[in-house]
Every structure is written in structure tokens, then in C-alpha cells.
Amino acid sequence: MAPLSESTDTEPTALASDTLRESIVDTLREAIGDDLLESYLIPNDDVWIRVSASAWRRSGEALREQGFDYFCFLSAIDWLPSPFGRGEDDPSAEPDEAEAESKEMTQGYTGGATRFQMLARVTDLRRHVGVTLKADVDESMVVESWIPVYAGANWHERETHEMFGIGFAGHPDLRNMYLPGDFEGYPMRKDFPLLARMVKPWPGIVDVEPMPTEDGDEEAESS
């Protein structure tokens, strides 16, 4: 572990961590080959890697061999633009489908083609660096479970299954954690309405005072 005096000295480590993150991507590419689809790096900050879903477990294993033995979290993202906006419209009005369709679906930093993406993060405690891993989830909505690689993925996969409806091949017990067992639907999907906003209009929208405008603040003026 680096002593305190070293880690506070930002200049030299700043350069070093840059090559460090590049080497992480390169080592992973050697291990899984073409299954590493895309990577995005913000120097001295963070790195994102997208792998193919078929290599999901293999990437985890390869990262673990590289020293990423600390499991941070595992979840998913639904990239569909919400058809309900931000829930501030009149709930009795018809949803504006044309507007929802006109919104493009973009998959964030590392791109991708599917609506659902896996999202996981692992950390290397020795080199003080973390990696965010993503993978496209295809129509089968099933990816391999990470439990053999990181035992802590167990509950995270249960939660992801409950909230997004993504299955995990090889998971021993995908019971619901929060909701009743016979609950229908997957709450974290964007097309699952937030019912509290559906039954009663959001009070914040009823009497909006105009924001005080400041010189040069266009956003304030436009509302």
C-alpha cells in the first residue's frame, strides 16, 4: 500500500495511472480477444469497458486474474427513453408517443446496440484502480452468473433479476428480495410507470413560480 505521503503527491501518480488504465484494457484484450468490443478512458479518472454478453463471465475471470479481486457492484441499465417523461405531466393526459419515439436511444460512453446493458464494477485494491464493465443483453435476456467468479454477486444478481427481468444462467436461487413473489413487472424498467406519479399530479408542477433571472443565465430565462 502506498504511504500517505505518496498518494497526496498528485503530479507523478497522475501520469502513471494513465498508462496503468491503458495497460488494464490491453491485458483484458489479450485475455478475451475480440470479445472486448469497446473501451472508453478518461485519463486519471476512470475506465469503461464493453464486452460481448457471451464473454461476460470470462471477462470477470480475466479481470480477477489481473488483480481485480474486490467486487464492488453489479446491476443493469435500461437505455429506453422514458415514455412518461419525468412524471410531471398531467397523468390523465394521453402519453405523447410521437415525442417518445423521436427521442433517440443512446447507450452512454461505450456505445452498444441493445436496450438493456449489464453494468458491473470491480476494483484492484493493490493498484488503487477500478473498472466499470458493461455488456449488451440480447433478446434472450439471460447472461451468465458471476457467482463462481465473485461470490458477492449473488444478491446483486437477485436484485437485477427482480428489477430488470434479466436472468442469470447458473444462479442457484433467483428469488425476489424486495417485492412479493407474485409481483408482476420489473420496476426499474423505464416503461414501468411510477405509480405514485400516476394517481396524483406532482404538486411541484401545479404552481411554479418563475425563477429569478440572472444576467447571462439563459436556462433561467427560457423557463
Binding site: M1, A2, L4, S7, T8, T10, D45, D46, W48, D69, Y70, F71, C72, F73, S75, I77, D78, S82, R86, G87, E88, T106, G108, Y109, L119, R121, L125, H128, G130, T132, Y150, A151, G152, N154, W155, H156, M163, N176, M177, Y178, L179, P187, M188, L194, R197, W202, M211, P212, E214, D217, E219, A220, S223
Partner: protein, 390 residues
């Protein structure tokens, strides 16, 4: 040798036979013990279902979800400044610490940084929430093992810290004080001197607890060697905070990553313990409260002058992007993965809370332990239900 009458002999034989029958029955029939959802050892409503063979746990499974509030979904219909109100309630004993990583993530996306004074005050309030949170843990530890005094001391001394937090922020439990770009307000007059006094008191409290609890023979025999977590298992399950350091892993996000906070300006020790048992986890937490008081003292001495708020637009729109920021919260690593689409509110927020990972190890850890040790282990892992269920 005393002679037994015929009648006594018969009764003795009968009781022996009954015992034998009972033993046979116990061997073949396990028992399911249900602890909670309402139980003093659960800090909220965690239910533990344990399958027992005699006094030993064959299989145990915590059942969370009694307090699920769906914060990840709710953040999607809030604006960025509104989110702090929600995430205050994740770990309700150290609320201010919950706000910080989210605000830092938003600031990272907006590429702004809080002024130095704001960073300083943020760090002080962060450490004060740690003291309030972990201080209560130290007291509560006693209650769960049958000692009632420490909890009174803990509540007494936590009140001083809560008064400080209230003095600076206006809220005892849910400050909602952190803003994108800085803080809502500067510190009130006299606050710094008062804080110094309280830190002195808190160090006294730590000594008292060490004397009363950690020096207690019963406490030692109930925690030493109970619930041992090896370092590689701890890393695999993503244990964090004192639970990880008690397994001998020298990892503290305050020291091991660079954030726009003031931790790199102070000198503090990261305590670890090689044993990985319940004792080690409790001991590391005690040392951490001491370190926190020292951090606060040093920060009070070096407080820079200046504004507490950077220039930010009145209506905050966060540019498109993704950011991950985590900090060393009282319970462990707490982080937010924030996805913004350039809108007023976040597109998706993944909340990585410490207790969720810390408690997910219990099915592995509780296998084979005795019933009273369930309480010890859960107490030493230290979780808060709001932090598991979110």
C-alpha cells in the same frame, strides 16, 4: 454410595428413558428459528431465518426488503438538487455522508469543484456523521451482548455531535446541506470552538467504552474467534469499511483515492486488524472514531477562508455523461453510478450501499455457528436497514 428405594430407581429409569427418546427426536428433527423482522439486533427490520440442528446453525438466510423505498426509481423523476433529500435517508445515522458522493459525482460531470473552504467543512461534517454513527454502534454493541450501560453513554455523547450537526446545518438527522458546487451556508459563530470541546469529550467517550466493553471478559469471550472472515472472502463479497480492514486488508477510500475533499490535508492512521473476527471488527471501529476526532481537530486548525459556494447556474443541468464516485462512509464504501443525459434530473442512479454487500456474506458466515453467535456476528458486521434496502 447411597441406596435408592425401589420407587426412586424406577423413576430414575423412567426419566433416563424419556431423555433417550428426546435425544433421538432431536437428532432427526431440525428446527427453524425466525429472528425478526422486529428484533433489537436488527437495526430496523431485517428478518433472519435460521435452520438449526440443536444449537448449531445449519443454514441461515437474511430476508431483507421490509424497508425498500425504491430510491433508484425515484431519483429518475427528481432534479439533481432534489435527490439529496432522498439519499439522506439511506443510512440515517450518518446522513450527511450519504449526500457527499452523489454531489461529487454531479460536480464531476459538470466539471466544477467546490471552493476549498466548502471542501473543508464537507470533510468535517462527514467525519462528524461518522462519529455519530459509529459512536452509537459502540454503545449498541453492549446492548446486544447483554450490557446496558454503554448505550446510555453512547446516546449521551452522540447528542453533542448531533447538536453540532444541527448547529451547522439546521437538521439533526437529515441535514440536506450539501449543494452542487459547495454548501448551503457557512458555519455559525462559535461553532469551531464548540467542536473542539466536543471532540475532547468524544475521545473521553472512546476511552470509557474501551474500558467498559473491550476490557470486559464476557465481551471478549463472546467476540474473539467468532465469525472469522478471511481476507480473500471479504474482497470477493465486496465487504468494505471496518469489516474489510478487520480482515487485514489495508484499504481506505479516504486515503487511497483522490477526491476534492480535505482528507489529503490531514494526517491519520488507517487501522487494520489481522484476525477478521467479531472482536477485530468492533476494535477497528473504536479506533476509527478516535481517528475521526483527530481528523476533525486538524481540519479545524487549518480552515481556509473564502466562499463556501462556487458559481453555478440557478437551474442545474448536468452535461451528458457517466460518473462513479464512492467515499468511505461510516458503514463502508458508498458510491453512486450516475448517468446523465444532459437533463435536469439523472437518467439512472445506481446506489452502491455498504450494508448490502456487508450483509450478503451472512449466509456463508452463519453456517455452523451457535445461536447466540448469530447476534454477535450481525452486531459486529454492523448494518443499517435503510442501507440494505435503499
Amino acid at each position: 454410595m447411597t441406596m435408592l428405594s425401589e420407587r426412586q430407581q424406577l423413576s430414575y429409569i423412567a426419566s433416563q428413558a424419556a431423555d433417550a427418546r428426546l435425544n433421538v427426536e432431536l437428532e432427526t428433527e431440525g428446527m427453524t428459528l425466525n429472528i425478526g423482522p422486529q428484533h433489537p439486533a436488527t437495526h430496523g427490520t431485517l428478518r433472519i431465518i435460521a435452520r438449526l440442528d440443536g444449537e448449531q446453525v445449519v443454514w441461515a438466510e437474511p430476508s431483507a426488503g421490509y424497508m425498500h423505498r425504491g430510491y433508484e426509481k425515484l431519483t429518475e423523476v427528481r432534479t439533481f438538487p432534489q435527490v439529496t433529500t432522498l439519499i439522506n435517508r439511506i443510512d440515517w445515522l450518518g446522513s450527511f455522508a450519504n449526500e457527499v458522493p452523489f454531489i461529487l459525482a454531479a460536480e464531476k460531470l459538470m466539471e466544477i469543484e467546490a471552493p476549498p473552504r466548502a471542501q473543508h467543512i464537507r470533510t468535517i461534517l462527514f467525519e462528524l456523521s461518522r462519529i455519530a454513527n459509529v459512536g452509537l454502534f459502540l454503545g449498541d454493541l453492549g446492548v446486544q451482548m447483554g450490557a446496558i450501560t454503554p448505550v446510555f453513554l453512547a446516546f449521551r455523547d452522540r447528542e453533542y455531535v448531533l447538536n453540532l450537526i444541527e448547529g451547522a446545518t439546521g437538521g439533526r438527522f437529515h441535514p440536506n446541506f450539501d449543494r452542487i458546487g459547495g454548501l448551503k451556508d457557512d458555519l455559525p459563530q462559535g461553532w469551531i470552538d464548540e467542536t473542539r470541546q466536543v471532540m475532547k469529550k468524544l475521545r473521553g467517550f472512546c476511552d470509557e467504552i474501551e474500558d467498559l466493553l473491550f476490557g470486559n471478559e464476557i465481551f471478549q469471550s463472546r467476540t474473539r474467534g467468532i465469525g472469522v472472515i478471511p481476507a480473500d472472502v471479504a474482497r470477493q463479497y465486496g465487504l468494505s469499511g471496518a469489516n474489510l480492514r478487520a480482515s487485514g486488508v489495508d484499504w481506505d477510500l479516504r486515503r487511497d483515492q483522490s477526491l476534492p475533499m480535505a482528507w489529503d490535508k490531514v494526517d491519520f492512521k488507517v487501522w487494520t486488524h489481522p484476525d477478521g473476527d467479531s472482536w477485530a471488527r468492533c476494535w477497528v471501529r473504536l479506533q476509527e472514531v478516535r481517528e475521526s476526532t483527530k481528523i476533525v481537530d486538524q481540519l479545524l486548525d487549518t480552515m481556509p477562508a473564502g466562499p463556501v459556494m462556487a458559481k453555478v447556474p440557478r437551474i442545474i443541468k448536468v452535461p451528458e455523461g457517466e460518473a462513479w464516485v464512492s467515499t468511505e462512509n461510516p458503514l463502508g464504501e458508498m458510491g453512486y453510478y450516475v448517468v446523465s443525459k444532459g437533463d435536469l434530473g439523472p437518467f439512472r442512479v445506481k446506489i452502491r450501499s455498504a450494508s448490502f454487500n456487508n450483509i450478503s456474506i451472512t449466509p456463508w458466515l452463519l453456517k455452523g455457528v451457535y445461536v447466540p453467535d448469530i447476534i454477535t456476528i450481525l452486531a459486529s458486521l454492523y448494518f443499517i436497514l435503510g442501507d440494505i434496502d435503499r
